[in-house]
Amino acid sequence: MKYWISVAVFLILALAAALSGVNEYVFYAGYIVLTFVVLSTAWNILGGYAGYVNFGTGAFFGLGSYSAVVLFKALEAPLIVQIIAGAAIGAALGFAVGIMTLRLRGIFFAIATVAILFIMETLMVNWRYVGGATGLQLLRPEVMAPFGSYTRMLFVVMALLAVIAVSVARYIQVGWIGRGLRAIRDSEEAAECSGVPTLRLKLFACVVSGALMGAAGAPMPMYLSFIEPASSFSLNWGVSALAMPMIGGTGHWIGPVIGALLLGSIQQIVTVTISNEINVLVVGVLLVLFVVLAPDGVVGLFRKWARRSSR
C-alpha cells in the first residue's frame, strides 16, 4: 500500500511541475533521466534478476524509436499508439533473440545482443524511408492542453512509463516468478532440477525487458524532433542501462531507480558542463569502481550501513 501511495504522490508532483512555471530545462533533462529509469529497470529484469547481461539495450530502444517514426510517418499515429507499438516490437525482438540464444551460456547471449544492435543499425542506415544514415526531421503535432509545451507532456508520459516499468519489476521480483529467476541466476542447473522451467522464465524476462525498452524508445523521436541511426542504436545506451542497475543495486527494484537518478543526473551535469566524451568516461569508471568495490550497489551499501548502526 505504501508503494502505491508513493506512486500517486510522484505522479501528482510530476503533473503539477509540468503545469507550473518551472524552467523548461528541467523537463528537457528530466525526460532523459526518466527514460533511464525505464531502461535500467527493464535491463535489471533480465540482467539483475536472472543474470543474463544485455549489452544491446540500444537495439530495443532504437527499434522502438524507429517503429514510432514509421507509424507517425505512414499513419500519423498518435503517441499512445506509437508507444504500444514500440512495446510490441520490443517484445517480439526480445522473443526472437531469446529463443535463439538463451539456451546458451550467458556470454553468448551478451554478444548476440551486440550483434542485434549493429544489425539493426545497418538495416536502418540502408532504409531510405526512415532517412537512411542522415536520418529524418520530424514535425511535432500540436500539443494538447493543458500542457504548455510538447516536452512537458512527454515528461509526464515518461513519468507514467517509469511508474509502469517499476511496478512491473516490483511485481516480478516479489512473486514466484522472481524467485524462479533468482534461482536461475544462482544456479541454473539446480533450478532446472528443482522444477523451474528455466528457458520459459528467461524468455519471459527477455520479452518483458524488451517490451519496456521499446516503449521507452517510442517517444524519443518526438522529443528530439529528429531521428538517426547512429545515436539511436549507440552502444552508449547499453553501457548506461547496465551501469545504472549495477551502481544502484541489482537485487531490488529500487536499485535501478537509484542508479538512474544518480548516474542520469551526473550525466546531464557532465555533458553540459564538460563534454560528452568525459560523460562516457565517467560512466565507465563508475561502473568498474562499483563492480569491483561495491558489487551490491548503493542498496547493498545502505544495507551494510543499516546493519552496522543497528548494533
Binding site: G47, F108, V114, A115, T122, M246, L281, G284, V285, V291
Partner: protein, 291 residues
C-alpha cells in the same frame, strides 16, 4: 549491382587476404575467451589501443610491424596484470562472477575507447611504410601490398602460436588448463599462473594485431565496436579452443564480407560479421571445431 566473374574472383582473392587478417586479430581472443573462458569483450579495445601505440612508436621512426613486435612485451605485462586483477576480483569469489565479469570488461572497453578519444581525438590516424599505398599487379588484378603484409604476418602468427600451444610444455599446459584444471593441479602446476601467462600472451599478440589493423587501414577510437563483431564471430565460428579453426573461420568471414562489400556496398559490410555470428549461435553454437 554489377556482377561478373572477374569481380567475384577479385572479391574472393581480397577476401582470403582479409580473412587471414581477421584470423590474426582474433587469435588473442581465441586464447583468452576460447581457451581461458574469460568474457573478454575488451579484447578489441586493447587491440585498437595497440594500434594507437604503434602509431606513436612509428612516429619515432620505426617500421609499423617492428613497432608492433617491440610493443609485444609491454602488452604481455599488461595482459598479466589485467588477468591477475580479474582473477582476484571475480573468479576467485566465484559467486555471480559471470555478470560482474562481463560488466567489468564492458566498462574497461569503454574506458579505453574514451581514453583514446581524449588522447588522440576522433580523427582517423594512419601510419606510413614502403608497402602501404602501392599494389602488386598480377594480370588484371591489383593486390594492395599492405594486405599481403598482413596476410603474411597473420599466417606466421597463427603458425607460431599453434606450434607453441602444441609443442612446448607451457603451451600444452595452457591447453590442458582449459580442459581439465583439477588434473593439472594434481600434476603440480599452478593453474592461475598458467592462465595468467596465457592471457599475457593473448594480449601481447593483440599488440601485433593492432599494428596490422593500422597498417591495413586508418584507425579511430570507436573501431573496437566493429571488431567485437569480427573477432567474436571468428572465435565462435571456429569453435572455442580451436586455433586452426580460427584460420578457417577467418577465411569464411573475410570472403563473405568481401563479397557483400562488392555486391551491396560499404553500408552493409559491418553487418556481415554480426549476422554470421548470429547464424552460428542459432544453428551450431559449438562452431566448426569446438570442444
Amino acid at each position: 549491382m554489377i556482377f561478373s566473374f572477374d569481380l567475384l574472383f577479385e572479391a574472393v582473392l581480397f577476401g582470403v587476404l582479409l580473412g587471414c587478417f581477421y584470423a590474426a586479430v582474433s587469435i588473442g581472443l581465441s586464447v583468452s575467451f576460447g581457451l581461458l573462458d574469460v568474457p573478454h569483450v575488451a579484447h578489441p579495445a586493447l587491440m585498437i589501443f595497440g594500434s594507437y601505440c604503434t602509431f606513436i612508436v612509428t612516429g619515432w621512426g620505426l617500421d609499423p610491424i617492428l613497432a608492433g613486435v617491440v610493443l609485444m612485451p609491454a602488452f604481455f605485462v599488461l595482459g598479466v596484470l589485467i588477468y591477475r586483477f580479474y582473477y582476484e576480483t571475480f573468479e576467485r569469489r566465484g559467486t555471480e562472477a559471470g555478470v560482474r565479469g562481463l560488466a567489468f570488461f564492458f566498462g574497461l572497453a569503454f574506458i579505453i575507447e574514451v581514453g583514446l578519444i581524449l588522447g588522440f581525438g576522433v580523427d582517423q590516424r594512419t601510419v606510413q611504410a614502403a608497402y602501404i599505398g602501392s599494389s602488386l599487379s598480377i594480370g588484371d588484378y591489383r593486390i594492395p601490398y599492405r594486405m599481403l603484409v598482413a596476410f603474411g604476418v597473420a599466417l606466421l602468427l597463427t603458425f607460431c602460436l599453434s606450434i607453441y600451444l602444441s609443442k612446448t610444455f607451457t603451451g600444452r599446459a595452457i591447453k590442458a588448463v582449459a580442459q581439465d584444471e583439477p588434473a593439472l593441479r594434481l600434476m603440480g602446476a599452478n593453474p592461475v599462473r598458467i592462465k595468467q601467462w596465457a592471457f599475457g600472451i593473448a594480449t601481447g599478440v593483440s599488440a601485433l594485431a593492432g599494428a596490422m589493423v593500422i597498417i591495413v587501414g586508418p584507425v579511430e577510437p570507436a573501431m573496437d565496436r566493429l571488431y567485437i563483431g569480427r573477432t567474436f564471430c571468428v572465435v565462435v565460428l571456429a569453435g572455442l579452443g580451436s586455433m586452426t579453426g580460427t584460420l578457417a573461420a577467418g577465411l569464411i568471414l573475410g570472403i563473405a564480407e568481401s563479397i557483400v562489400l562488392m555486391m551491396l556496398g560499404a553500408s552493409w559490410a559491418p553487418a556481415v560479421a554480426f549476422g554470421l555470428l548470429l547464424v552460428v549461435l542459432g544453428i551450431r553454437p559449438q562452431g566448426l571445431f569446438g570442444r
